[in-house]
Point group: C2
Chain length 443, copies 2
């Protein structure tokens, strides 16, 4: 519909190979960015309009920062790449024979396809638990958790039965990976440091934060010594930790962890992820986590022009599939962009690209507002300086300058004043039952 | 449940008169703040947990600022007032005989009651139009408008039928008061300045923004000369203005304004407000806007300990009811607090409080990002400096220092870079139909 001076250029670009990227998460966005100057047309398809910095999503859930501060419109990020299109739509199928990506009744023809559709929470066969628990993968999830948390405190304040108040103030987090640990630490800060002075009737110090993990220890991806320090710190902050406790029941009454039944209406589920359902599109089989096995160049066996990266891919390195974390997706995204560029412009004498190798830059985790753990190469650190390092790394990894600035301000405010600014309860979608007693309240 | 050192003091306070305030908007919050040092117990009841700065809500709707930046938890605002309670609950009835405020099956006994429950949009007898249009009174409303707006642009980008794209890019705003005018100006900026460079297929310059007003001119509360300048500025920005056009139909196809039927799926309703349904609680009759007539001391005839303020009150001054604006509610709130304090501690020889008089400090309105109009006393201004004054006044009126700082940053960024940061589309609740064509798209 446009009639621009650059229409001719646009027309010329129609003859360039078309790279379609499904998903604008860490992996997909990296491919698009790295193809900025390549002689290709790029189309990014995502079901939302924004790239989300998931590592800080738990801070939206606990009211420290606003959703917009960790997200940016994909269209805006890629606005200067004239040959890059962004489409907000849900992919419904892929036709690998005709090389088409289908979104309902629309389709896109591709020359190269990159599947980077991410993952959702894995309930390990108990999808009925979804009704009674909150996961933390999207902005909506984070808003729902925030609503649930702050509504629980409000309801406890007006509950006149102490038993009901205790139940409202029991928060169970299932899964002690970094997300579960960071969420538990932040909720402990809320309940024990930030909010108590603002409540007149209920004593928020009776809040129970229970972190449940099926494995023998928390933070299984970290070295044992660091995990132990994190464990100790969480305990000091008032978090109860139940390791080696499998969850066998979740319903409107509470959660059964090991032999104990914990009465609660607030359950957060961070126990693992399941790749999005892309395998059926590609006709590929998957592993238990829904991931598709990819070859040395991250493409699939019968369709070398189809790449699968990030949480959707199972890539074996050192006899183990790579973990579903952002750096893996980003490095795979960069690799795919390099691979496509080399295929398009092979230079004489140039060696073909080596197989993909993931370089682990380390891992870190924040516990509360003054303690972190980190592992970089052989260096291991725990304590305040690891927390500062965590802050810096997360600020620098945010996508835009203005997000960095505003998140820094929010953190400065939150950590120096022990306040949380973003405590919105709007329309109630919380999963707590109304617990009003029958008698009049006398305040 | 608490067992604090100050429990005795808390106990002592039980004998103090109890002021119950319904609503934590501008009026209710002002009463609570002004009673900080009075010998009373105060309980603020609100259905949400936050005070909302509604004058900037339209900027949430257009993606300039985040909801948390114009709101603050009521509990947090009042945290230092030890004799003040905050309850998040929905008031369902008032028993003026027994002096009880009911929230479902809980009740609170009051000695003084302040009703400051605010208002909602007024569809003037056409509540069925609610289904097809968006109002702008709550954070949820603003999020829904934001979603609707940005989704319309996204859908237009992939619509392959120009007629469908034009329909998606037709935005109708009903009601040309300050909210409608400010919204229209901001949407014009979005469509014509901020977004076009980011879209590849659709030409956003064909966006139509239509401001519909039943009265003969826009901004009826402003002097005619200023309204004319605002009108001219809006026209320059590409806003179509239809005055003296009553709306007679709104449905899934569009809106009928005057004789014209405008095909659109995006209709914003800012045509007027209706006071919340509090009259039946108090057994009082109301005017057309649902307001209760109050006496010279802002209380109601048969119950001098019941005050009604803000949008709920009809107070005649200079032969006209005062308008439903924040300064009226705030001045009324201050007056009620003073009145209660004087009743509790009458000093010998002191004259009884004069009747309430509203002091109009003026009015202002922003149009786009470089033009404003303002009227203060006899001073009238239009243009860039009026816009700067608008910025300063709104920053200063925000409730907390940190909100002021962050909104200033957001504005600095938005206005200097012509960007809008907060463009989140999450779960779709937009009111547009899906408009996907049947043929494949070739991008």
């Amino acid at each position: 519909m446009k009639n621009h001076p650059d229409q001719q250029q646009e027309h010329a670009s129609k003859t360039m190979p078309h790279v379609v990227i499904i998903g604008a998460g860490f992996g997909g966005l990296q491919v698009a960015l790295d193809l900025a100057d390549a002689p290709v047309r790029v189309t990014v398809v995502d079901r939302t309009n924004h790239h989300l910095f998931q590592p800080l999503l738990y801070q939206v859930a606990t009211g420290t920062i606003s959703p917009a501060e960790i997200s940016a419109p994909v269209r805006h990020i890629l606005r200067k790449q004239k040959h890059t299109n962004v489409i907000m739509a849900e992919v419904t199928n892929v036709d690998t024979e005709r090389q088409l990506v289908w979104m309902d009744e629309q389709s896109l023809h591709y020359d190269y396809l990159v599947v980077a559709a991410g993952s959702h929470e894995n309930y390990f066969g108990h999808d009925e638990w979804r009704t009674y628990s909150h996961s933390l993968k999207t902005i909506e999830d984070a808003r729902n958790i925030r609503q649930q948390l702050f509504e629980a405190f409000e309801k406890a304040e007006i509950a006149h039965d102490e038993q009901i108040a205790r139940e409202l103030l029991t928060f169970v987090i299932v899964g002690a990976g970094p997300t579960g640990v960071e969420l538990a630490g932040d909720i402990a800060d809320l309940a024990h440091k930030v909010l108590p002075q603002e409540f007149r009737h209920v004593d928020l110090h009776m809040t129970r934060i229970i972190l449940v993990e099926a494995l023998p220890r928390i933070l299984p991806a970290f070295p044992e010594t660091l995990a132990e320090k994190a464990h100790k710190k969480l305990r000091e902050m008032g978090v109860e930790i139940k390791t080696q406790q499998g969850v066998t029941r979740i319903d409107g009454e509470g959660v059964k962890a090991g032999e104990e039944f914990i009465r609660t209406q607030t359950i957060f589920w961070t126990a693992g992820v399941q790749a999005s359902e892309v395998s059926s599109w590609l006709g590929e089989s998957v592993d238990r986590a829904g991931r598709i096995s990819v070859g040395a160049n991250l493409n699939i066996a019968h369709h070398p022009n189809v790449f699968v990266i990030g949480d959707n891919a199972s890539y074996i390195q050192n006899n183990r599939p790579l973990p579903a974390v952002a750096p893996v997706a980003q490095q795979q995204g960069s690799y795919v962009a390099r691979f496509i560029k080399q295929q398009l412009a092979p230079q004489s004498g140039q060696k073909p690209l080596d197989t993909f190798v993931y370089h682990d830059k380390g891992a870190m985790c924040a516990i509360g507002t003054d303690f972190g753990i980190l592992k970089v190469g052989r260096t291991e650190m725990a304590g305040f300086f690891a927390w500062i390092a965590w802050l810096l790394v997360h600020i620098l990894r945010l996508i835009s300058f203005e997000n960095r600035l505003i998140v820094m301000l929010q953190w400065g405010w939150a950590y120096l004043s022990s306040q949380r600014r973003v405590r919105l309860i709007t329309t109630s979608k919380a999963k707590t039952k109304s617990q009003l007693p029958k008698e009049p309240v006398h305040v």
